[in-house]
Symmetry: C5
Subunit: 374 residues, 5 copies
Amino acid sequence: MSTYTKRVRYKNHKRHINVGARPGSIIIPDDAEKPQIVVYSFNQDDLQTSKGTNIETITRQIKKCTDHTHWIKINGLGDARLIEDIGTFLGINQLVLEDIVNTHQRPKFDEYEGYVFGTSRVIYFNKEDELINCQFSGIVKDNIVISFEESHKDYFEAVTARLKAGKGIIRTAGPGYIFYSLTDTILDNYFVLLAKIGDMIDQTEDKLYQSPDKSIMFDAQQLKRTLIIIRRSCWPERDKINDMIRSESELITKETKLFLRDAYDHCIQAMDMVESYKEVTSSIIDLYLSMVSNRMNEIMKVLTIISVIFIPLTFIAGIYGMNFSREDANGHVIKDNMPELYVQHGYVYTLIGMFLIGCGLIFIFWKKGWFNKL
Amino acid sequence: MSTYTKRVRYKNHKRHINVGARPGSIIIPDDAEKPQIVVYSFNQDDLQTSKGTNIETITRQIKKCTDHTHWIKINGLGDARLIEDIGTFLGINQLVLEDIVNTHQRPKFDEYEGYVFGTSRVIYFNKEDELINCQFSGIVKDNIVISFEESHKDYFEAVTARLKAGKGIIRTAGPGYIFYSLTDTILDNYFVLLAKIGDMIDQTEDKLYQSPDKSIMFDAQQLKRTLIIIRRSCWPERDKINDMIRSESELITKETKLFLRDAYDHCIQAMDMVESYKEVTSSIIDLYLSMVSNRMNEIMKVLTIISVIFIPLTFIAGIYGMNFSREDANGHVIKDNMPELYVQHGYVYTLIGMFLIGCGLIFIFWKKGWFNKL
Amino acid sequence: MSTYTKRVRYKNHKRHINVGARPGSIIIPDDAEKPQIVVYSFNQDDLQTSKGTNIETITRQIKKCTDHTHWIKINGLGDARLIEDIGTFLGINQLVLEDIVNTHQRPKFDEYEGYVFGTSRVIYFNKEDELINCQFSGIVKDNIVISFEESHKDYFEAVTARLKAGKGIIRTAGPGYIFYSLTDTILDNYFVLLAKIGDMIDQTEDKLYQSPDKSIMFDAQQLKRTLIIIRRSCWPERDKINDMIRSESELITKETKLFLRDAYDHCIQAMDMVESYKEVTSSIIDLYLSMVSNRMNEIMKVLTIISVIFIPLTFIAGIYGMNFSREDANGHVIKDNMPELYVQHGYVYTLIGMFLIGCGLIFIFWKKGWFNKL
Amino acid sequence: MSTYTKRVRYKNHKRHINVGARPGSIIIPDDAEKPQIVVYSFNQDDLQTSKGTNIETITRQIKKCTDHTHWIKINGLGDARLIEDIGTFLGINQLVLEDIVNTHQRPKFDEYEGYVFGTSRVIYFNKEDELINCQFSGIVKDNIVISFEESHKDYFEAVTARLKAGKGIIRTAGPGYIFYSLTDTILDNYFVLLAKIGDMIDQTEDKLYQSPDKSIMFDAQQLKRTLIIIRRSCWPERDKINDMIRSESELITKETKLFLRDAYDHCIQAMDMVESYKEVTSSIIDLYLSMVSNRMNEIMKVLTIISVIFIPLTFIAGIYGMNFSREDANGHVIKDNMPELYVQHGYVYTLIGMFLIGCGLIFIFWKKGWFNKL
Amino acid sequence: MSTYTKRVRYKNHKRHINVGARPGSIIIPDDAEKPQIVVYSFNQDDLQTSKGTNIETITRQIKKCTDHTHWIKINGLGDARLIEDIGTFLGINQLVLEDIVNTHQRPKFDEYEGYVFGTSRVIYFNKEDELINCQFSGIVKDNIVISFEESHKDYFEAVTARLKAGKGIIRTAGPGYIFYSLTDTILDNYFVLLAKIGDMIDQTEDKLYQSPDKSIMFDAQQLKRTLIIIRRSCWPERDKINDMIRSESELITKETKLFLRDAYDHCIQAMDMVESYKEVTSSIIDLYLSMVSNRMNEIMKVLTIISVIFIPLTFIAGIYGMNFSREDANGHVIKDNMPELYVQHGYVYTLIGMFLIGCGLIFIFWKKGWFNKL
C-alpha cells in the first residue's frame, strides 16, 4: 500500500506579526528551541572544538585560536540575549538579527560592510512524516562563519564529518567555502526530497494503471502542495546563489565561486525537476478524472441497456396482468375485454413478441455503437 | 462552524468618473468623511501635538516649532478646500492633489521638484467583516510628512505609540523614515490578512477532509477573490518600494533605504504567500470537484446495481402475474396458456431461478470490478 | 431582470483586404460616413469656429487666424479626396493616410519629420446596446492638431466644452495638449465601460447566489468577450502613451508629458481592472459549473434513494401478484405453490417485512452519509 | 450548413531527416514540383520577361539587361542541379541552399556577405479545402532578387500585376522593395485567412446559440489547430521583419524600412487577432460544454421527477395486486389478508391516496426549487 | 492497431545522491557499462584508428600522430580510474569529471582555461520501445576532442562514416567542428523522435474520429510525458548552442559558428514542434472528454425518454391489476370498486388512453428539442 495516502502535515511555526513594531526587534517565539553552540576552529593541521550555550564559548575560543578559521554552529534560536550578544560582538546590523530569528525569510544573500548574510530554506520529512520547512541562516565575516539553525537536528553531519576528516580543501578554503558547503548540503537534500517525490509519483501512477481509487486524487494534491513548497524555496535559492557568484565581496573567493557555479547548476536542475513533476502530477489528475468519467459512462450504459430492454417488456406483462373482467357486473360476457387472454397460444405469442422486442432493442443499441469501447 | 461561509462584501466607494474633466480637478465624493487633522511636531527631546480641522492647525504649529520634524496626519478627505489649501501652502501639483482625493490609485511613488509623493492600498476586514480596500497617500517635503487616510479609523496606532515613546530612531531619522514606517505598517497588515486567509484555507481543507459540503466551493471562491484583491495591491507596492530605494531624492535618506530594503523583502514574501495560497485554493477546488464526481459515481453504481438486479426479476414476476386464461371463452382448456402456473413446485423453481439470476448479475458486476474502489 | 442576458453584438466594419495592394492606397469602405469638419482656432483670448465639408474650410481658417492654435475635428472618413487633400496640404506620408482610413489599427504613436501621428480605439455601447469598437486617429503638426473619428457621434463633447469655457491651460498648452486631452477622454470612457462591466459582474454574481440559471453562463461569456476587446485596446494604448512620454519631439511639451504620466497611470489602472474582472468572471463560471454539478448530484441522490427503496419492495409485491395456481390442471391441490398467500396474517407479515426492508435501506444510506450535505 | 464541419487536412510534406548528414546537403524530396523560372528585368521605363527551366534563362537575361533590376521567380524546387547552379552563379552559402530546399524553416532573416536571405511561411486553403503550409524564400543581392516557391500556384499575382502596370515606386525602389512586397503579400493573405476563420467562428457561435450540436466541438478544435499553425508562423515572422528593419545591409534601403515598419504593424495586428480568436474559441468550447452539462441536468430532472412520483404509486398498485387469499387452503376466511380490498369505497380511497402522494411529491420538488431554471 | 497503447517506460538510472559529499567526487553507479575507447586520429589525408579500454590507448596514439586531430570516443562510463586518468592527462577540473559521470546534467556549455566542456541529452526509443534519456558530454582541448557516452550503442555512426569517407570539411575543420557534428546529430535525432510523435498524434487523432475508446486518454498522456522530456532537453540545448556561438574561445572557430547558427535554428524548430504538439495533444484530450460527455448525454436521453414514457403506462396497468373485490366479505356487491373493469370496451379505452399518453409525452420531448442533435 502506498505510504503516502495519509495527509501530509506542514509543520511550520506560526508567524508572529507585530504590526508596526520597530524594525529590528528581536522577538523569540515561545516554542523556539534553546540554542546549543559548537565552535569549530581549524586550520590545515589542527581542529579544535568547544561546546556551550552562551557567548563566552565563542569569544574564548576565538581569542585562543588566532590563526584558525572559526565555524560557529548554533542550533536553536530560543535565546534573544545570545543573538544580541553575537550581534554586538561581531557588529551585525539589527535588521539581520531580526531576519535570523524571524524564521520566515525567503532565501536571500545580502552584503553589508565587512560581512555577508544569507538564508536558505531547510526542507525535509521528519520521523513523523511531517514536512518540515525551517530556516537556515549564516553570516560570513573575516575568518568566521556563523550558522543558525532552528532545531537541534544534526542536519549538516556530512560537512562536520568532512571537516573532521580534513580531506579536500574544506579546511583551507576559508569561511566562504564552509558557507557554500552548507548551502550545497541543503540543495543535495532537495534532491533527496525530489527523489522521494519521484517515487511517490511512480507509485501513484502504478496505482492509476492497476487499481485506481479515489486516494489517487488526494495523493496527487499532496504531491502538488509539497512541490509548491519546494518551488517556493528553490526559485529564490537560485537568485541567492547567483547573487553570491556576482558578489564582489572578498569573503566569497574566486575558488568558492567555481563551486557556487556548480551549485547554481544543481539548483536549476532541481527547479526543472519540480516543474516536470508538477506537470506529471497534473496529467495524473487529468487521467484519473477521465477514468472516473469513463467509468460513469460505462455504468450508465449498463443501466440504460438493461432498463430500456425490460421496461417495455414489463409494461406488456403489466397489461396482461390487468383484471378487466370477461363478464360485466350483470354476468354478460364482454367480448372485447382482453380477448387475447382467451386465445389459443396467446401466452406463447406474447412471450415470442417480448423476445423479439428485446432482440430489436439490442440490435438498435448495437447499431448505435453502445457495445463499442468508448 | 466556519466563520467564512457568509459572503464577503467588498466595500468600495464607487469611482466617480468625470469623462473629459480637466485633469487636476478635486472632486470629493458625497460620502467622504470630514477631515480630522493631527500635527505631530517632534525632535529628539520634544513632541508637540495639536488637533484641528483646517489649515490653521497646520500653519500655526509649523511656525511655532521651527527645529522640529512635522507629521501632519489627516483622517478623512471630505473637504476639498482643505486639500487645496494644503496644496497651496506646500506648493503641491494639482495632479497630486487629484490623486489624493481620487481614492482608486494603484500604489506608486512619484518624485517632484522638492517633494515626493506615494500611495498605498490599506486592506483590512472591518467589524462587519467587510473587506475594506481604501487608500493611503503621503507627501514628504523638507521636514514635513503629510499622510492622508480615507477614514477616521486609527490604523497607524503602533507608529504614533512608537513616536510618543520616543524609542529608537523614529524621532531622529527624518520625515522619510516616518513615511517608511507607515508603509511598513500597511505591509505588516497584509501579513495579518494573509495569516487570516491561511487559517481560512486550513479550515476549508479540514472541512474537505472531514465533512465536505457545497459551502467549500463558495469559501474557496471568496478566498480567491480576496487574494486577487491583495495581489492587485501587492505587486505595485513592490514596484513602489523599489522606486523609493532607487530614488535619488535627498528626502529618502540612505539609512531609510536600508529599512526599505527590508520592507521590499517583506513585500516579496507577501506576494509569495498570495501566489501559494492561490495555488492551494485552486487545488482545494479541484479536489472538491473530484469528490463530487466520485460521489456521483458511487451513487450511480448503487442505483445501477440494484436496478439491474431487480428489473429482470420484477419482469419475471410480471410474467407470472399475467392473467392468461386456462380456459377460452367457451370453457375449453387452453393447454399452452401458462402451464408453468399449474406445475408441481413451479413457484419454488421460479424463486430459485430468480435467485440464480440475481447471483449471476452480482457475479458479473464483481467481475467488472464495480465493487472495487474507483 | 439583468439587462445583459441578450447577446452583445460586436459592430465592426469588415476589414477590406486588398491582397498585394500598393501600400499607401486610400480605399474607403462603402458604408463610411461622409466627413463633417469643425475647425477650432483659439488662443488665450479668442476662439473662432468654422464648419464645412471640404479642404477650403480648413485652409481659409488657418490663413485667417495666424497666431492661433488650430484643432481640426473631422467626423466621418467617407471622402478619399478630402483625406488626400489634407495629406497634401500638411505634407503627410501616404502610409499615415492609409492608417487613418483603414480603421483596424492598434493604438500606436509614430513620429515623422515635422509631425507626430497617433491612433486609439474608441469603445462604447451605442443606443442599441451594441458594443462599438472604432478608431480615433490624430496628427499634431506645428500649431495644428487634426483628429479623425469614424462616426458623427459627439464623443469629445467634454473637451470642446472645456475649450469653449476657456478655463485651465487647455487654450495655452498647445496642440500636443489637445491630443492628450482626447486620448485622456478615451481612457476615461474605458473606466465608464469598466464600471458598467463591474455592475454586470455584480448582477451576475447576485443571480448566482440568489437564483442561478443557465443565463449566467451566457452572461459570463459575453463579459469575457467584452473584456478581451477592451484588453486588446488597453495594452497597446499603454505602449502608445509610453512612447509619447519618451518622445523627443518638440510637439509633446514637457508640461504635457506630466499629464501623460497621469494618463499612463490611468491606463495601467484600467488594465488592472480588466485582468481582475477576467479572473472574477472565470471564478463565477467555475462556481456556476460546480453548482450545476452539485445540483446533479442532489438530483441523483433523490432518484437513487427512492428507486433503491421501492424497487425491491415492488419486486416483492410482484412476487405475491403471481398467479401460481393452488390447483393443477387436474384440480389437485399443489401445496408448495405460494403457500404464503393462504397463511393466517400473511399479508400483515409481508407489509411488516417490506417496512423493515425500507428502514434498513434508509439506514444504510444514512450510514453512507447520503443524507449529509456533500 | 456550416462548410467547416468536415475535417481540415493539413497537407505538409513529410520532413526528410538524414541523421548526421553533412550540413549543406541539398536533398530534394521525390514529390517536389519541377521548377519554372520567370525572370523580370525592369527599370523605370522598361520591363523584360523571359521564361525557362534552367540557369541559362537567368544568366542570359542578366547579361542582356545591364541597367535593370532583376526579379528571378522560381516556382518549384524539384531540381537540385538548378539550385546548385544558382548558388554557384551568385556565390550563395551551401547552408542557405539547404534551407531553400528543406522546406520546414521558420520565418527568418539572415545577412551574409554581399547578400541577405529570408524565409516566410505561405499558408492558404487550396481548392480541396486543405490547409497548405509551404515555404517561401528569397535572396537579395546587388540588383537581383530571387524568390523560391514550393508550388506552381500563382501566389504573387498582385505583385507581378503592379510590376507590369509600373505604377508607384515598385520599379524604382530596388530589389529590397520587391522582397518587401512579397513578404507583405504573404501577410495580407494571413488576414484573408483570419477573416475566413473569423467568419467560421461567427458561424460556430451562431450554431451554439441556435441549434447546438456536437459538431461545434469538432469545429472549435479545428479552428484552434488552424490558429496554432498561423501563430507558429506569425511570431517568427514578426521577429524576421524586425531583423530586416534593424538590418544595416544596404540592400534594405531606408525607404523600404518605412514600409517594413508598416508590415511590422500588420504582423502584430495578425498576432493580436490570432490570440483573440483563440480566446474566443476557448470560450465557445466552455460555453458548449456548459450547455451539455445543463442539458444533462435538465434530462436528469425530468427523469427523476417522473420516476420518483410514479415509483411509490406503482408500488401501492403492486401491493393491491397481490393475491393474498381471502380463504386459507381449508376454505376458512382469513380476516386480515388484505381486508382493504373488500371495503366499501376502498378503490376510491386508494386512488385519492395516490393522488395526494403525487401532489405531495410535486410540492416537495417545487419547494426544493427543481422547477426553477438552474 | 496503434503501437502506442502500451505504457512507455522511462528508463533512467536512479540518481545517486550523496548528501554533503565533497564536490568533485567521482562516484560510478554499479550498473554503468565498462568503457570502450576508440581513438580517431586524422588529418586531411590520413585516418588512423585504435581501440582499447585504458589510458594507454589514448596516450600512445597521441604521441604517434603529432600533426593529427584526435577524436577520443569513449562509450561507457563504468571505470572511475580511466576518467581520473584522462582528467590528469589533459588537466581537467574535478567538477567537470564529476559532471561527466553524474549523468543527470542539463545541456550546458562551460569554458575553462584551455578547454571547453559541453553536455547534451541523448533521447531515443530503444528496441524494447523504452524511452532512453542518457547523457552525452564532450571536451575540446587543443587538437583533441573527447566524447563520453553512457552506453555502447553506436549512436554517432553517421559522423564516423563521414569521417572515414573524408568528404567535406570534417577532417580539416578542427575538433570544434567534430563537437558540433555530434551535437547536430543529437538534434537530428530529436526530429526523428518528433516525427515519430507526430505520427502517433495523427494515429491517435484518427482513432478519435473513427473509433474512440478510452485508450486515447492513455495515449495522449504518454505523448504529453514524452514531450515534457524532450522539451526539458531542448530548452537548455538552445541556451548551450547560443553560449557556444557567443563563446570567445579559439576552440570554436568562426567557420564552426556558422554551422552552429544553423543548429540553433534547428533547435528552435524542434522547440516549436514540441510546443505545437503539446497544444494539439491537449486539444485531442479536450475533444475526447467532450465526446465522453456527449455520449453520456445521449445515453441519458434514451434512458429518460423510454423510462418517462413507460413509467406512467405501467402505473396504469398496475392500477387495473389491483384486486379490489367486486363483492365484500359478505358477498354484497361493492359498486364503486373498480367499475371500469366491468364496463363494455373498458380494455380498449384503456389501451387507447395509454397510447395517447405515450404520444403526448413524445410530443412534449420533441417540443423540448430532445430529438435534436445536442
